[in-house]
């Protein structure tokens, strides 16, 4: 089930909120949340519930074991067991076909294996389970003795499918001691509405506009304007899609008394690629920093080792996003960019105005999205070539002109929503009074657009 669905909004959410509110005891509230979380997960693919239970059970048991053994060697082994088994489960489903097909290609064979169907949210709950065991190992938090609470931590529906990646230490106390005020519930619901609107009113419309544009690798050579437009729309789509989903998760967490970490902080106003990654998918960046980069030695190592650390982190970040060479290239691209940026910061002193730095960063981010957007590396590279005017598709094409004209307001709205002007505005008293009206309008509009999503006008509007 996804948050931006009628099933969720009309049936699931009202039911879970009513039942959660109806009980005064925290134990009963946790039971309600757990049952609904399992239903939420099973609604998509019931069979994969077993996979999540396996990962949770394994990490729960290993964490308990860590509290009961003193020998450092045995403790390391318990940690290794939990991490390796969790990752093996993830690797099997996500990377087997990629590895087999890559090997096959290497020895001159063709594609021999279709990708396995991926259990829902596996990348997120695996990482969350690993952080739990690793934090218990490091002594950052105590192991949870109640298996149902451990399961609730992993499976709690607001953050299970697409993050943010919540660490156990952030919610441990709330599992056993939390209260929900009317203000929390209200602000949580407002956040949910904002996230829903981002997803339905911006991301989905950007996706429709993208579908109307020719893509790299098709019959027609891409024009320069068309290729930039496509990437700009994709940048909006992916940001509003993902941050919208995170907003909904964070908002719902607040409605149930949890405080989840922020995942996005206006990434498109970044003045450098380093800053971009401090603002984009922050919970994933923090995971790789704390559980991969720093254990590898971080930046307090010789230069060669540092290069290795950076590239390892970024190749893994790329692979985490998907099992495909273009994701590997995307990760490597950012690894190289970040190293180049660090080198430039140390050796080149140029007084570049911030707007220019933001613009240049955005250009590099758009090149990165070109690698990310396509399923094959040649198509992504071909798109970058088109953006640079090397594809022979001319400056503009009718589809680009049409999409730009049709979506000019949408793009302006999306660009405005990428800027942090709303926060101080929301604090203004006059605006604050209008917030319920504005939220109600957004909610109603998002709802109507959700209903209309299955609208499939026929042939003559297929472009």
């Amino acid at each position: 089930m996804v948050f931006s669905s009628l099933t969720f909004l009309c049936f699931f959410l009202p039911s879970v909120i009513v039942l959660h509110t109806a009980f005064r005891s925290l134990r009963a509230r946790n039971a309600v949340l757990l049952v609904f979380s399992l239903v939420f997960y099973a609604w998509g693919e019931p069979i994969w519930l077993l996979g999540m239970l396996f990962t949770t059970g394994l990490n729960y048991a290993c964490a308990l074991l860590l509290t009961r053994i003193a020998s450092p060697r045995k403790r390391r082994f318990a940690l290794f067991l939990a991490v390796a088994a969790s990752l093996a489960f993830l690797v099997y489903f996500k990377y087997t076909a990629f590895a087999v097909n890559s090997l096959s290609a290497l020895i001159g064979g063709g594609r021999v294996m279709e990708p396995l169907r991926l259990p829902l949210g596996i990348s997120f709950y695996t990482f969350q389970a690993i952080t739990y065991t690793a934090d218990v190992y490091k002594g950052k938090c105590r192991a949870q003795s109640n298996p149902l609470l451990a399961l609730l931590y992993i499976a709690c529906f607001p953050q299970m499918i697409a993050g943010p990646i919540v660490r156990y230490a952030d919610v441990a106390e709330k599992l056993t001691n939390r209260a929900v005020s009317a203000d929390d519930a209200y602000r949580g619901f407002c956040r949910l509405i904002v996230g829903l609107s981002k997803k339905v009113l911006i991301a989905n419309l950007c996706a429709e506009a993208i579908a109307a544009l020719p893509a790299s690798g098709g019959e027609q050579a891409l024009s320069v304007a068309g290729s930039w437009l496509l990437m700009l729309l994709f940048a909006f789509q992916i940001y509003f899609d993902f941050s919208g989903y995170s907003d909904m998760g964070i908002g719902m967490g607040r409605m149930f008394g949890f405080k989840y970490p922020e995942n996005f902080n206006y990434p498109y106003i970044s003045a450098s690629v380093t800053e971009f990654w401090r603002r984009w998918h922050m919970s994933l960046g923090a995971f790789f920093r704390d559980y991969v980069y720093i254990p590898l030695g971080g930046n307090r190592v010789p230069a060669r080792r540092w290069v290795f650390n950076v590239m390892a982190v970024w190749l893994l970040t790329g692979l985490w996003h998907g099992a495909s060479w273009n994701f590997v290239a995307w990760g490597a691209y950012y690894g190289l960019l970040l190293m180049a940026e660090r080198f430039a910061a140390r050796h080149i002193r140029l007084p570049v105005p911030k707007p220019l730095r933001v613009a240049v960063t955005m250009v590099f981010v758009l090149f990165g999205w070109a690698l990310f957007y396509y399923e094959s590396l040649p198509a992504g590279v071909g798109h970058i070539a088109a953006m640079l005017g090397l594809s022979g598709g001319g400056f503009a094409d009718p589809a680009a002109v049409y999409v730009l004209k049709e979506n000019a307001l949408l793009m302006c709205a999306a660009a405005l929503c990428c800027l942090p002007w709303a926060k101080p505005l929301a604090r203004a008293r006059a605006v604050s009074c209008l917030r319920p009206v504005f939220m109600s309008l957004l909610f109603a509009l998002s709802f109507l657009f959700l209903v209309g999503q299955s609208f499939n006008p026929f042939l003559y509007f297929r472009f």
Partner: protein
């Protein structure tokens, strides 16, 4: 913000979502309704089976069902489309530029595709039907006293066709337009798909009594025709697949090229396609009707003999789905043609039971006004009975393009049966199509399709399967 106000807001938001859920659960259509707006069957209520629940397919289907069956969904969709149109700046000309096949732009500095270097000559090829194509011009003044002209003795000449060979036809055929010396492909159809359609036509042809005929035509939608109408230096609008259909079909199958007939009319600046609707105008319909009935030995009813009324402005399906100011400013005129003979239009409601319905449904919705003809596509089976003096019966297998076509046959047939395979139901109609052809003594069959239901759709496969 005060606590009470926050709680009221929460209750309002949550309550409205829950109320929508309850409303959907109670009032939603369970059976799956055909959406003429989208030309598809809306999702029916999914069945919870162990296999579908286990694979997650049930849940996906349920979400689609909820979206499709949302109360007053069509109004919601229209509202969204109108809202989106208000926020877009693209014109109809931009739209046409995109609808134009992008691999073959019409700018004069762009060479034609290599595969089309051997394009047909500028003038469209002749219609493969053995009859001449009449070119009546629409009278500007309505006829004061229609003079019904009963069908004279009909003589149909059924030619013998040579054995066809697939390799005699190009592997890809289609609908084209020629402008400024360049040819653009508007629609492409694979040879196998074209030949496959003839098998269904042949099955119909085999069922008919001696002397019976099947007449086929496939009409491009107006979006393609309007590309031609709006193009500079336009020369020809034509199709080439009809030769193949004709060659592979039985001797008693006749094929008319709507594209060629309407293309000629468009070059004469005649109003044969709507600007705001996907269909042909009644006058365009009449041109094709004349050719089709002439081909099988009938005399077409003169255009001026129909009883006519005009509705203006008419804003059709294009406008409904994307209401642009351009279309409002270029609204169409809908001419309603009715046979002058006494007639009755009956809809079969159950085996042996019929209900009289208006041939022109004046109550047709303003946003789908083309359905004024026959009340729009409907099932399971309908019959137009006329007292024109004609004796035979015919069957029209058609989609919405046939709505304006059916009433024109009243002068040639005592009974014109109308069947849209999307809505046909053998149990309700009283038998399979083959049984009904025999039951009603149908002699001729007309297959009149829009290109949406031609070679790459299930429409004709369904029509074949419904023969029984």
């Amino acid at each position: 913000m005060r606590k009470a106000a926050q709680i009221i807001c929460l209750l309002l938001w949550l309550g409205s979502a829950a109320a929508a859920g309850v409303y959907m659960a109670v009032f939603a259509e369970r059976g799956g309704v055909f959406s003429e707006q989208e030309n598809r069957l809306l999702a029916p209520m999914p069945q919870a089976l162990p296999g579908t629940v286990g694979s997650g397919a049930y849940m996906d289907d349920m979400e689609l069902y909820l979206q499709d069956s949302f109360p007053r969904r069509a109004a919601v969709v229209r509202f969204i489309q109108a809202l989106r149109d208000r926020t877009g700046f693209a014109s109809y000309a931009d739209y046409l530029a995109v609808a134009r096949p992008v691999s073959d732009p019409l700018t004069s500095d762009y060479p034609p595709l290599p595969s089309e270097s051997n394009v047909p000559p500028p003038s469209p090829p002749p219609s493969p039907s053995p009859s001449p194509s009449p070119s009546p011009s629409p009278p500007r003044e309505p006829s004061a006293s229609p003079s019904p002209s009963p069908e004279p003795g009909r003589q149909v000449i059924i030619p013998e066709k040579p054995a066809p060979r697939a390799e005699d036809f190009p592997s890809v055929m289609g609908v084209y337009m020629q402008t400024g010396g360049h040819t653009s492909t508007l629609q492409r159809y694979g040879r196998d798909a074209v030949i496959s359609l003839t098998e269904t036509l042949n099955r119909y042809a085999d069922l008919l009594p001696e002397g019976g005929t099947v007449s086929f035509t496939m009409t491009p939608q107006s979006v393609y025709a309007n590309l031609f109408v709006n193009a500079k230096n336009r020369e020809a609008f034509y199709s080439d697949f009809e030769q193949c259909v004709y060659a592979f079909s039985r001797d008693n199958v006749f094929v008319t090229s709507s594209a060629n007939i309407l293309g000629e009319a468009m070059t004469r600046e005649e109003y044969v396609y709507f600007r705001t609707d996907m269909h042909w105008t009644p006058y365009g319909t009449y041109l094709v009707y004349s050719d089709m009935v002439s081909a099988i030995g009938h005399t077409p009813t003169p255009y001026e003999d129909f009883v006519k009324t005009e509705e203006s402005p008419f804003l059709g399906t294009y406008y409904r789905d994307k209401p642009t100011s351009y279309m409002r400013e270029n609204a169409d005129v809908l001419e309603l043609l009715k046979p002058a003979f006494p007639h009755e239009f009956l809809r079969v409601t159950a085996p042996g039971q019929t209900k009289a319905v208006p041939l022109l449904n004046e109550k047709a919705r303003a946003n789908d006004r083309y359905t004024v003809y026959l009340g729009g596509p409907a099932g399971p089976w309908s019959i137009l009975q006329s007292e024109s003096g004609a004796e035979d019966s015919c069957l029209v297998i058609t989609d919405s393009f046939g709505l304006a076509f059916v009433p024109m046959l009243a002068g040639q047939y005592r009974q014109t049966h109308y069947c849209d395979p999307r809505y046909f139901n053998a149990a309700a109609a009283g038998g399979s199509v083959a049984e009904l052809i025999e039951l009603y003594g149908i002699k001729d069959v007309f297959v009149v399709l829009g290109d949406l239901h031609s070679f790459n759709s299930d429409f004709m496969r369904t029509a074949g399967a419904q023969l029984g």
